[in-house]
């Protein structure tokens, strides 16, 4: 690079000549910077000229005709009292200076040079010639701070301009400082509220109301995504009662443009500062026509939490980088609060469900008698183990006289609280119909009539077995509503008793039958639910009806009490299942 300074009465000049090499550009711009600074051009103008010149030289070198690459690029700089003029002489094939210079798409890596030249100088002309072209750029000078001793006193116009410039700088600084202060104080203030019960919508509205004030925006719309990240629903907005439909993320993108959906799909801020950016078909465009602003999608980790749209009138100043940082800081802070509130809600719900189950379990336990009524020469023992905290199995023993009682065993379809509730109702009904307890089939028929509507409404049913036992006559009468067969064992043999009958809740009027059996002195009677026969070993083998019958048969040869037999069967089951979790409730009543 070579340079030659020049001087005239009205202006100072500098001529540079640089080789057609991009590495030459920066030293040349630094030479121009030195020249302009020496001539008391303001730093702001120097920086603008430096960059405009760099852009022009880059173009001149990058697009130089191959045959002219040996020719140097010439640069002339003239420093007039009111303007700095830069001339770049290139050897390219030339181009037509565009009437309008707009910024390219933000994703484009090039195409900003001419825009910068125009924006920085305000006056650029391009002249094409046969042997070369000239780009002339003129930058009006802003007044430079005068040196107290050498410079003459500035005139009132210059003073006024200087004052305006300084005021502008102070205003910008104050605005940024204020933004930072208000952002911090708002976040601390809201952070302090986290110990209080969360009212998330109110909290969000107040936080974003502060955001509008800090960023000088007019409105906001906060949408939250569902857990599947397929839908965006308005959570709160600057205008209460705002009516905006939910956005189906996939559908909206295929059928119409939505800046909010676009932000979630690209995971980036989407700006709407051009008229075409916010279409009237866009839900936000229909709501806030003529707005400028942005949509910021916010995440916790990789999970989309929602979108925050912030806008203002097109007539107002666009958002600066400082304001955008405030929008981001608020949205990210809000995202954490929203996720925390959701986790808290889930924790509370889990605790409530656990509490409900605990209550239901207590009710169910209270149904099982601590001490079973006994008959002369006939002992009873019962066992009930729920697969979950609250199951649908239960047994009951209703003493009718000194020598008679009613055995009840039932399995409500399903588990958990609904099953336990029907178990409670069934137990109450059976105890409320004492006139029928000696006729189990009639008791089942009546119970079915009373329960049918409730059971069919929720598509549930109950299997049950009722056994009337008379110790004096040594006989029993049994009826079944679709329940497992009852087992009666005597030394050397075991038989099943399986009276016909549909489960309760299947048909409103269905018949049940009674079957009678004699009770031998050494007989064992077992009423059970299918949780016993369907118990599985770790290898998947079923416990099965045969194994159960064989076990009961061998007990008839022993002199064990009912309580001992209960413990033995419970132990058999535990051994068979080898501590595996129960799939179904296991309940039985044994009489010996």
């Amino acid at each position: 690079m070579s340079e030659s300074p020049g001087q005239s009465s009205r202006c100072s000049g500098l001529r540079l000549s640089l080789a057609c090499d991009l590495a030459e550009v920066r030293p040349a711009t630094l030479a121009v910077r030195g020249f302009l600074t020496e001539h008391k051009v303001s730093e702001q103008d120097v920086a603008a000229c430096e960059l405009a010149m760099a852009e022009a030289c880059n173009n001149a070198i990058s697009y130089a005709a191959e045959s002219r690459r040996r020719d140097p690029i010439k640069v002339e700089v003239m420093c007039h009292p009111a303007v700095v003029e830069l001339r770049i002489f290139d050897h390219t094939s030339g181009f037509c200076w565009p009437d309008e210079l707009a910024l390219p798409d933000p994703e484009n890596e090039s195409g900003r040079g001419l825009f910068l030249i125009q924006a920085l100088t305000g006056n650029a002309e391009y002249f094409r010639g046969e042997s070369g072209n000239i780009l002339v750029m003129r930058r009006p000078r802003t007044p430079q701070q005068a040196h107290f001793q050498a410079a003459p006193a500035p005139n009132p116009e210059e003073l006024s301009r200087r004052l305006f410039e300084n005021e502008q700088v102070i205003t910008d600084l104050a605005e940024e400082l204020s933004s930072c202060y208000e952002s911090l104080s708002a976040i601390f203030r809201y952070g302090a509220e986290q110990g209080k019960p969360p009212e998330l919508e109110d909290f969000s509205r107040r936080l974003l109301g502060d955001l509008l004030r800090i960023t000088a925006a007019d409105w906001f719309v906060l949408r939250l995504a569902d857990p599947q990240e397929s839908r965006l629903t308005v959570f709160t907005a600057s205008e209460p009662g705002l009516l905006l439909d939910a956005l189906e993320i996939g559908v909206a993108f295929r059928t119409f443009r939505s800046v909010e959906v676009e932000a979630t799909l690209t995971r980036r801020d989407v700006w709407f500062d051009q008229p075409e950016a916010l279409l009237s078909t866009d839900p936000l465009g229909a709501l806030k026509p003529g707005s400028i602003g942005l949509v910021h999608p916010f995440y916790v980790g990789d999970s989309l939490v929602g979108t925050l749209a912030v806008g203002k009138s097109r007539l107002r100043t666009p958002f600066t980088a400082a304001k955008i940082n405030v929008v981001h800081a608020f949205a990210d802070f809000l995202a954490i609060q929203i996720v925390n509130a959701r986790l808290q809600e889930e924790r509370v719900n889990t605790l409530l469900v656990a509490r409900d189950l605990e209550i239901a379990q207590n009710i169910q336990r209270s149904l099982l008698l601590g001490t079973l009524p006994q008959l002369p020469q006939l002992e009873l023992a019962g066992y009930c183990e729920s697969a979950r905290q609250v199951g649908g199995d239960f047994y009951d023993v209703i003493k009718l006289s000194d020598s008679t009682l009613l055995l009840v065993i039932a399995d409500v379809m399903g588990k958990g609280i609904p099953a336990a509730m029907f178990a409670v109702i069934l137990r109450s009904l059976l105890r409320a119909l004492p006139e029928l307890t000696s006729r189990p089939s009639e008791l089942l028929a009546r119970t079915n009539q009373l329960l049918f509507d409730e059971l069919s409404k929720v598509d549930m049913f109950i299997t049950a077995q009722l056994v009337f036992v008379d110790a004096r006559s040594r006989r029993l009468v049994a009826a079944s509503a679709g329940h497992c067969p009852m087992l009666i064992a005597t030394p050397g043999q075991v038989r099943t008793l399986s009276p016909e009958g549909m489960p309760l809740g299947i048909l409103p009027d269905t018949p049940f039958t009674d079957e009678t059996a004699a009770l031998d002195p050494r007989c064992r009677v077992l009423l059970y639910t299918d949780g016993l026969t369907e118990a599985r070993s770790p290898s998947g083998e079923l416990f099965g009806a045969e194994r159960l019958a064989a076990w009961l048969k061998q007990t008839a040869a022993t002199s064990c009490t009912a309580a001992e037999l209960k413990d033995q069967l419970a132990e058999e089951l535990a051994k068979f299942q080898a501590n595996m979790a129960l799939n179904d409730d296991q309940t039985f009543l044994i009489m010996a």
């Binding site: 991009l22 852009e55 990058s62 994703e107 890596e109």
Partner: protein, 102 residues
């Protein structure tokens, strides 16, 4: 171009930039890209010492922005001087880069 790169978590910190211009933009872009090994996803560039940024330098930054976007990351520009920040705002680059000031 002597860049200083350092890895912190999933972020590549880049320093030592005095200027980003047509003469060194491609070199800068290639060096940073080469340092962006998996699973890095963010790039933080210390701009506090950068005195000059032209459109070619912006092009290099946009190229890095595209690289991190494919990894769901972001480019952060730390403490740019006022003239550089003005260029970023003039070209609306502050909308795709996060500009952070201490």
């Amino acid at each position: 171009m002597n860049l200083k790169v350092q890895i912190k978590g999933d972020t590549l910190n880049v320093g030592g930039i005095k200027e980003l211009s047509a003469a060194n933009a491609n070199d800068f872009r290639d060096q940073v890209r080469a340092a962006m090994i998996e699973p890095l996803r963010n790039i933080e560039i210390d701009f506090s010492q950068a005195l000059f940024l032209d459109s070619c330098g912006l092009g290099a930054l946009i190229s890095l922005h595209k690289t991190v976007c494919s990894r769901k990351g972001i480019v952060r520009l730390l403490n740019p001087a006022v003239p550089v920040q003005q260029i970023l705002e003039l070209t609306r680059m502050h909308r795709i880069f996060e500009i952070v000031k201490d």
